[in-house]
Symmetry: C2
Subunit: 316 residues, 2 copies
Amino acid sequence: MTPDLTLRNILEARERIRPFVHRTPVLTSATLDGLAGARLHFKCENLQKGGAFKARGAHNAVFALSDAQASRGVVTHSSGNHGAAVALAARNRGIAAYVVMPSTATQAKQRAVARYGARVTLCEPTQESRESTARRLIAETGAHFIHPYDDLSVIAGQGTSAIELLEEVPDLEAIVCPVGGGGQLSGVAVAAKALRAGIRVIGAEPAAADDAQRSLRAGRLIRGGNPQTIADGLRSSLGELNFALIQAHVADILTASEESIVQAMRLVWEIMKIVIEPSSAVAVAVLLGRPPPLAGRRVGVILSGGNVDLERLPWP
Amino acid sequence: MTPDLTLRNILEARERIRPFVHRTPVLTSATLDGLAGARLHFKCENLQKGGAFKARGAHNAVFALSDAQASRGVVTHSSGNHGAAVALAARNRGIAAYVVMPSTATQAKQRAVARYGARVTLCEPTQESRESTARRLIAETGAHFIHPYDDLSVIAGQGTSAIELLEEVPDLEAIVCPVGGGGQLSGVAVAAKALRAGIRVIGAEPAAADDAQRSLRAGRLIRGGNPQTIADGLRSSLGELNFALIQAHVADILTASEESIVQAMRLVWEIMKIVIEPSSAVAVAVLLGRPPPLAGRRVGVILSGGNVDLERLPWP
């Protein structure tokens, strides 16, 4: 059964989060259009507060809580961007935030979480360690758990970027969006298909972490292991709510090699003059595949975040 | 006598260049506001076509030419951004472009010029060598010379960013804009003062290349030597038309140390997720000085460009 998430929920989310997040710009690049053989419209969630789309879902989830629910703070686990977003949302609501991060999270992401005043607890870089550490914190503090993606409030918040994108470019024929846990892709897909039934929503995933593609093609949720990809924001396994919404609304999921992800990242920095993280570059890498998968189309591209260690760039 | 450049010329420039340039976004950052103690509105000319504001002036100058004037192409000399912009404008008009570049121009800037189809001639990194090489090309080709800044058509084009910025944020109290040759600062100042008489327009200059500050304070044009600054776009000496307009409309010019320029550049990349070149960072560095020079004010900041060699970043 498809989870009960509608455009109305996403429109409500948009009103709820409006005071706290940026309406991010939509940029275009004639050079990248040429390379993709398409008209690309980049929704720049890397320019969102906290440097990633996660501010949307986190603010919706934190501000949808009742005062009683919120009173003991919020807990989450995150490779970084969601953690920073929950930290910021909690600070904006004036409540405590506890963030479990894998010890492999980039320094930039750890700094961002700490900057917003959250308490960081490091754990092993596995799903099991994240979850057990979060459970321990919940038991200790009584704080409310906000899952980074497998949560309808979070999904509704992430979907708000698609509303803004389609307001600005109403005649898009497709939207390409990275997929890790699936919070953003599922929210974007619900919003986009409700606003424009004929649109194709396409997930973009590292070939080295292709659990979403395999799940969609098999028709059942296949969990990833502990995938090794430079796209650190996309190492999570697809969530259950997310998978169900993706099955209902997403046309396909395409993958990109590690090398093509780095090349696409480098290209966007040089040509568009914006800092994107590898997870965002996956969507661009997919569009630049040979042959280009959306040649001749008007395409929205979600650039999901820009949190990278500037001292450790993946080129010489 | 103040050169004859009015808001009307800049409004005409805006219509002339509209099909060819981006209306660049205006971004804000709560973190940078905190550091500057001010409300900052960043006009992102680094996201302009060609990666710099220069696309504005170049398109105005190239498209203001009569067909007869344009027929043999255009020549310019440039450390890079203006050269790329003239190359692009010439391609858009379908005429030839000859660009003289100092041999020290960054690889990214040389590539950008070549990508737009211009013929590049390298020269020694001195003003004399640039000018003599350009004169030789004019003699050989009969092409029309477009000075990178000391030209009223170019200045009018550069001023168009201030119109857009004030449309978006009408109640600015100040605008801070980098100054090298002064093309952008003089255009921005004419437009901003005409639209909002009480606004303070402030130039930002590397302390190591402070000919504009010294000129403004001395009341006469003092030429720089061959300044050594990381802000490669600001090594030019102030132009004559530019100086006269700056004397008439600019409140002050503030300087930044080389170290503070690099720090500001790093900070903008990490916090705002945009690629700016050192010349842009000079404006940010000035605002982050101690004590902050515009504390409590609503300030427009022109981020003039983003063309850097991604392989040679000025941090470890």
